[in-house]
């Protein structure tokens, strides 16, 4: 369980994270979505005690990270796949991590096996690792202490399709084992496939914290209506507009209706006796929901909000 209470981070005049209050629950994959510079990485760094919050707190199982004495047994995290000494072999990197927390060396080989890095890849110095191998090494490090809480910052970056599928399955199985899994991503489609719960932020503010199905359902659905009878279509358009829906002609025999549902358009067409050739919902994807949620927050993005590139 990760608990954020009024978590705030300011860099000078810029508010990178703005009073976030979120509970990340165990047993499911929680996606952490937001445009670049929204404050995702900063939030994760504060959870790990790397960045000091300006206000509020981030707790893991009720305690601040800096108080933990065996943190790798409590939280595993992949922050930056590039964060390995250029001359140090991947295995030595993991071995140093393991020793710091009293984890036996054989566990290093176990996690290397889990992430699919063989002995030769693990013996290569950090500078020669591809981004994909770096991601796998980072995930191996997160798994070292068999922790109940896992955090991954953009874990599928640089992975090939096989790797992406593997990460997806890994997240799922970790959550199914009852662990807390908190994954950030800017890939909305990826979240749609892996996440159960979504936490969406924009410009450091919480925009949504809800089950993924609710987020999608809450987005505006456009309804496409096609009819061979122009007169009937015009009548339908008038009646729909009267109920508060927005109607736009999409062609001589077609309408795009927003602000209503497919069911209500269908009922109305039946009532008016208008013959329909098509009645379909459009754009009910996480992608669209995300765009709508973050529309205001990306508008002003582009300034240094202190996330990502550090």
């Amino acid at each position: 369980m990760i608990t954020l209470r009024g978590l705030t981070k300011r860099f000078g005049a810029t508010v990178a994270v703005d009073a976030l209050t979120v509970d990340v629950a165990p047993g499911r994959v929680t996606g952490f979505l937001g445009p670049n510079g929204a404050g995702k990485s900063t939030t994760m760094r504060m959870i790990l005690g790397l960045d000091r919050p300006t206000a509020g707190q981030a707790l893991i199982g009720g305690r601040a990270y800096r108080e933990l004495r065996r943190p790798l047994h409590e939280v595993g995290a992949l922050l930056d796949a590039r964060a390995i000494h250029p001359a140090r072999a991947g295995r030595a990197h993991l071995l140093a991590m393991a020793r710091s927390n009293g984890i036996p060396a054989r566990r290093v080989d176990e996690v290397l096996d889990t992430v699919g890095l063989d002995g030769r890849a693990a013996a290569k110095p950090g500078r020669t690792l591809s981004l994909g191998m770096g991601q796998r090494l980072g995930i191996a490090g997160a798994l070292l202490g068999d922790p109940p809480v896992l955090m991954f910052d953009e874990p599928v970056n640089g992975l090939d399709p096989d790797g992406v599928r593997w990460v997806r399955q890994l997240m799922r199985s970790l959550a199914d084992q009852g662990r807390t899994v908190f994954v950030s991503s800017h890939l909305m489609s990826e979240m749609q496939l892996t996440a159960d719960q979504l936490v969406v932020i924009g410009r450091g503010r919480l925009l949504a914290d809800a089950p993924i199905d609710d987020v999608i359902a809450g987005s505006a659905v456009a309804v496409r209506v096609r009819s061979p009878h122009p007169d009937g279509l015009a009548t339908l358009a008038t009646r729909l507009a009267a109920t508060g829906a927005t109607v736009e002609p999409a062609g001589p025999d077609e309408l795009t209706v927003t602000g209503t549902t497919v069911d209500r358009v269908g009922d109305l067409a039946y009532e008016l006796g208008v013959r329909l050739h098509e009645l379909s919902p459009h754009g009910a994807s996480l992608e669209q929901a995300f765009m709508e949620l973050t529309a205001d927050s990306v508008e002003y993005a582009g300034g240094p909000t202190g996330s990502g590139a550090r």
């Binding site: 000494h85 001359a87 030595a92």
Partner: protein, 266 residues
């Protein structure tokens, strides 16, 4: 989850032992460590050889005012350290600045969130390794200087061993000083510049006009204090005071580094 209900009861000494083991693993898993040790060895061999040649030449040339008489091997070693230390202190320096450059400081602090514990573990490892390296350097320097000095040299076993141990202690403390400064300044180049100024440039400039009050100020600097300790001086203060001054500088640098690590974002 069995681990989720496990209380965080690991005692502090175990956490510290873990941090030391991790630092040890990190230090010896990069080739830089060995190159640094080799550079130190070569510098020591060259310095000790050269200084021994100078001493022998001074005694054998025609100018009687140059005559240094019989020179102790230990004094050649102590003079050789002035240059050699810059290779050796890199071990302490890089232990922290390389972490900032590569971003591994975040991994390190994830594994050991206590900043003081991380820095102390690094100090123990860097101090131990540079002490051992210092013993090796002293031995090699003595083996080179003794035959070069020939009839003009003397190397009583007890004194020479004491000099070598003192030299190793000096190097260990200077590398801890470098570590602490590196944690505060983060950049290797900046830290090396500050070290060069503190160990050599500033005290030399202070001593240059030979004004009593400026000399007294220079005596407090770590490099000068270390020299008084190594030389076993009685003036301006006993050698032991020099050792304490140098240790104080190293301790202060660690405290400064810890404060910086605690306060600043990683």
């Amino acid at each position: 989850m069995s681990t989720s209900t496990l209380p965080d009861t690991r005692p502090a000494p175990a956490a510290f032992r873990g941090a030391v083991a991790a630092e040890w693993t990190k230090l010896f898993s990069v080739r830089t460590t060995w190159w640094t040790a080799l550079a130190g060895l070569l510098l020591m061999a060259a310095s000790a050889g050269q200084l021994a040649i100078y001493a022998a030449n001074d005694n054998t040339n025609d100018d009687p005012t140059d005559d240094r008489g019989i020179v102790a091997v230990g004094s050649v070693l102590i003079d050789s350290v002035e240059l050699t230390q810059y290779a050796v202190l890199a071990l302490g320096l890089l232990a922290i600045t390389a972490e900032f450059t590569s971003g591994t400081i975040r991994t390190t602090l994830q594994c050991t969130p206590s900043r003081g514990r991380v820095l102390l573990a690094k100090a123990v490892v860097a101090g131990t390794v540079t002490f051992a390296l210092g013993l090796l350097l002293g031995g090699v320097g003595a083996l080179i200087a003794r035959p070069v000095l020939g009839e003009w040299g003397r190397a009583p076993a007890g004194d020479t061993i004491a000099d070598i141990v003192a030299l190793a202690t000096y190097l260990a403390l200077v590398s801890v000083l470098a570590l602490g400064l590196g944690a505060a300044l983060r950049s290797a180049v900046l830290t090396l510049t500050v070290l060069f100024a503190t160990l050599m440039i500033v005290p030399l400039s202070l001593q240059e006009p030979d004004i009593a009050v400026l000399n007294r100020i220079a005596d407090v600097f770590p490099g000068v204090a270390g020299t008084h300790f190594l030389a076993g001086d009685t003036e301006p203060y006993p050698g032991a005071v020099g050792l304490l001054l140098l240790a104080g500088w190293a301790g202060a640098a660690l405290l400064l580094g810890r404060a910086a690590l605690r306060r600043r974002d990683a």
